[in-house]
């Protein structure tokens, strides 16, 4: 079942082989949530006949925002060991995701499986473009904290670039770069923080570094960067020019589905792994769209056990480019993300001008 999926390299299964395994695991997870989360049970029964789900597209999908307004758990309160809060767009309520030991372990393990396919199994000296304060509270932390903690488990000689007040430790950075200039090392950070500190601050201070052996892994959304007209290509080009970083991997993921992240390969495509799947739905009628057609991204993960976040409709547009045929050689679906769906423009008196 779910544990069996850990027995396969994360990008080794072709569609025909993955389909029955994934469906079986997804069915088990869904039945677990129906049996243990009353809200989820009502939800599933309102949208479908839960005893008759034969393909991933038949499973009902929860809009990701419901975690902002509802406490949804599928385990006893006493089993919850930590609460993950999504960073949330400015001014919005953050989501709260309740994690038990099993879910947390699965997330850590799955993340390691997936990332190691890109950076190798060896533990690498790691720069975190973040502060230790981000996971100071062990019971409640942000998606950023979860990312740093996740990567901490397969890095070594951790160096945190920022202090609690978000000031850069330039000296420490120069030391790190010098010490590990001849061996592979890892840089991990939130996309915007990487841009702000590693690129903009260093450029402003006129510091050029040789990080040519570094692999940069980053995530966290492009909203702020797009506002500054920085796309993925610009991002990579500037980091290469300023810091000689050649290997840059973005990943698509969210606090509501930590662990089963979608890594961006050398070809610029995000990839599903054995733990995850993706569907593209037509906003006009929720029908599944064929590969090559843009629609709303639905993400599926078999990892969530303590909260019913295994099948989520995101607020992002995306397109599946193909399955099992990415030139990078990894099997599974591969896709592109086009960004947030535009805000609704509704008329009517309920939406008024506040003072």
């Amino acid at each position: 079942m779910i544990e069996d999926l850990f027995g396969y390299p994360p990008f080794s299964l072709k569609a025909a082989q993955k389909k029955p395994l994934f469906l079986e695991a997804l069915t088990a997870v869904t039945q677990h949530h129906i049996a243990n989360c009353p809200e989820y049970s009502k939800f599933a029964k309102a949208f479908c006949d839960p005893s008759n789900l034969t393909a991933v597209e038949d499973f009902p999908f929860l809009p990701v925002t419901v975690f902002k307004t509802n406490k949804l758990t599928s385990v006893n309160e006493s089993a919850v060991i930590k609460i993950l809060k999504s960073s949330g767009t400015t001014g919005q309520t953050p989501s709260a995701i309740y994690l038990d030991k099993l879910t947390s372990e699965r997330q850590t393990k799955a993340l390691a499986h997936i990332v190691q396919d890109f950076i190798g199994k060896e533990r690498l000296p790691t720069i975190f473009v973040d502060t230790k304060a981000v996971f100071k509270d062990k019971e409640s932390f942000s998606a950023r904290g979860a990312g740093v903690l996740g990567f901490a488990t397969f890095g070594k000689n951790h160096f945190y670039l920022l202090d609690e007040d978000m000031n850069m430790d330039i000296e420490g950075l120069l030391e790190f770069a010098e010490k590990y200039k001849n061996e592979p090392n890892l840089i991990f950070g939130f996309t915007y923080l990487v841009w702000l500190y590693l690129y903009k601050e260093l450029t402003a201070k006129n510091i050029k570094l040789d990080l040519s052996n570094a692999i940069l892994v980053h995530s966290g959304g492009w909203k702020k960067l797009i506002e500054q007209s920085v796309d993925n290509g610009t991002f990579k080009a500037h980091l290469k020019e300023q810091l000689s970083i050649k290997h840059v991997y973005n990943f698509y993921g969210m606090a509501e589905q930590v662990g089963s992240v979608f890594m961006e390969c050398e070809e610029g495509n995000f990839h599903t792994s054995v733990f995850s799947d993706i569907l593209i739905r037509d906003p006009a009628n929720w029908q599944i769209l064929p590969h090559g057609t843009q629609g709303i991204i639905e993400i599926l993960s078999v990892l969530p056990h303590s909260y019913p976040g295994h099948i989520l409709l995101t607020e992002d547009f995306g397109t599946i480019m193909g399955e099992d045929t990415c030139p990078c050689g990894r099997y599974g679906k591969y896709f592109r993300v086009a960004g947030r769906i535009p805000k609704a423009e509704l008329r009517g008196c309920s939406d008024t001008a506040a003072v």
Binding site: A344, C349, T352, A354
Partner: protein, 408 residues
């Protein structure tokens, strides 16, 4: 008033003196110049065929027709001789962002009873609104309307509590057109102690259909078109847009009646060819899920061909989440065997009941016998959005004026 020079933009009349308007004397109720002005605005809109594409403007122009204004005048004057109705003074209107024409109704009713008026328009604009403002400016600029120019200011300013508080302290009547959040934030600002405040908060409205009457109805297409207008003109976000459809009758009638109704509506919507905004589809899905979570009993999401219409069937009235609803073509449905069952369900938040196949007598009996806490208007399909001078249970003409008791 210099402090507001940089903050406040006069929209109509284009040139004017805000200080003068604040200090101006009220007019006579139904003063000749007021009637002339309203009549010219009405005629200008109705004569210009290029404005036919703005149904809201046309509805407004019909409301402003001199024959209708005369009716209002008769309602206003035809009252007890033991009091005289006089203007309150300065009315401060805060208009909603998304219903373009509401501010005109609010302003004109206030103007008709003789008040001077300051209207804060939302910064949000539309072609329809700008067209309307241009018409108003053109007419108001005519020489004979000097008195109206001196007693009227339509303006825009940012979210500035200082400005809102200033007008609130000066005015004799503060009118806030909705949004509970807007009302809450403006209520926190000091209001002239002798001023009256009239607010129009968020509302919930619905349709009641007699299943048997609907099945027997011969002109179903026309009724569907009316319902479409009621529900979709303001993206189902007007206070009076139906959000809950209550089916009344026996189950054997209700099942086929529902099928026919929604099928015809889906077909009609297809002919309108209005694309579904992705964010609206997601919002509606979120509202559906929240409604399901909130419900004590199991509710059902009905299959629909497209996300133009989404439906949730809810058996128990107590499971209807008024606040979870987001508009945009989401319909709650429930059933009753007779009208009286609605009685306990109605809340003060409920405003308009659009009725099909139920007689005036039945409705009148229902309201008298059940004394529902909500409901301010009962209208036929197609008239849910029609503005009336009785709104949210208030006689606006009487409310915007003051009664001077005369017992000597």
């Amino acid at each position: 008033m210099d402090i507001f020079k940089d903050k406040v933009k006069l929209i109509c009349p284009l040139t004017g003196d805000l200080a003068k308007v604040v200090a101006a004397q009220p007019l006579e109720p139904f003063e000749k110049i007021t009637l002339q002005f309203i009549n010219i605005v009405s005629e200008t809109i109705l004569k210009d065929h290029s404005l036919r594409k703005y149904p809201e403007l046309i509805a407004l122009a019909y409301w402003m027709r001199s024959a209708h204004i005369k009716q209002l005048q008769e309602q206003f004057i035809n009252s007890n001789a033991d009091y005289i109705q006089v203007p309150r003074g300065l009315a401060f209107h805060i208009a909603p962002a998304n219903v373009d024409t509401i501010f005109v109704y609010s302003w004109f009713i206030s103007l008709l009873v003789g008040n001077t008026n300051i209207v804060r328009l939302s910064s949000k604009t539309s072609d329809q609104l700008e067209t309307l403002l241009a018409i108003l400016n053109n007419i108001l600029a005519q020489e004979q309307f000097e008195q109206l120019r001196n007693t009227t200011a339509l303006l825009r300013y940012g979210h500035d509590t200082e400005v809102t508080e200033f007008f609130s302290k000066q005015c004799d009547l503060r009118i806030i057109w909705g949004g509970d959040a807007t009302i809450k934030s403006i209520r926190a600002l000091e209001l002239n102690p002798t001023a009256l405040e009239v607010v129009f908060p968020d509302r919930f409205s619905y349709a009641v259909i007699d299943a048997q009457q609907w099945l027997a109805h011969t002109n179903k297409e026309e009724t569907i078109a009316y319902f479409y207008n009621d529900a979709f003109w303001f993206d189902q976000n007007a206070c009076s847009s139906p959000r809950l459809v209550v089916w009344c009758g026996a189950e054997k009638d209700i099942t086929p009646a529902r099928n026919i109704f929604w099928q015809l509506l889906e077909e009609y919507i297809t002919t309108k060819n209005v694309p579904v905004q992705p964010a609206v589809a997601v919002q509606k899905l979120t509202a559906e899920v929240q409604t399901i979570f909130n419900a004590k009993s199991q509710v059902t999401v009905e299959q629909s061909a497209s996300n133009a219409i989404n439906r949730v069937f809810i058996e128990s009235f107590e499971d209807i989440s008024r606040d979870a609803h987001c508009g945009g073509g989401l319909f709650y449905e429930t059933t009753i065997s007779e009208l009286a069952e609605l009685g306990n369900f109605l809340k003060t938040k409920d405003q308009t009941l659009s009725a099909f196949g139920i007689t005036k007598e039945q409705l009148s009996t229902f309201i008298k016998e059940n004394k529902p806490r909500g409901i301010c208007r009962v209208v036929p399909f197609g008239q849910a959005l029609t503005f009336s001078n009785y709104w949210d249970g208030l006689d606006l003409l009487a409310t915007f004026a003051r009664k001077v008791e005369l017992v000597v």
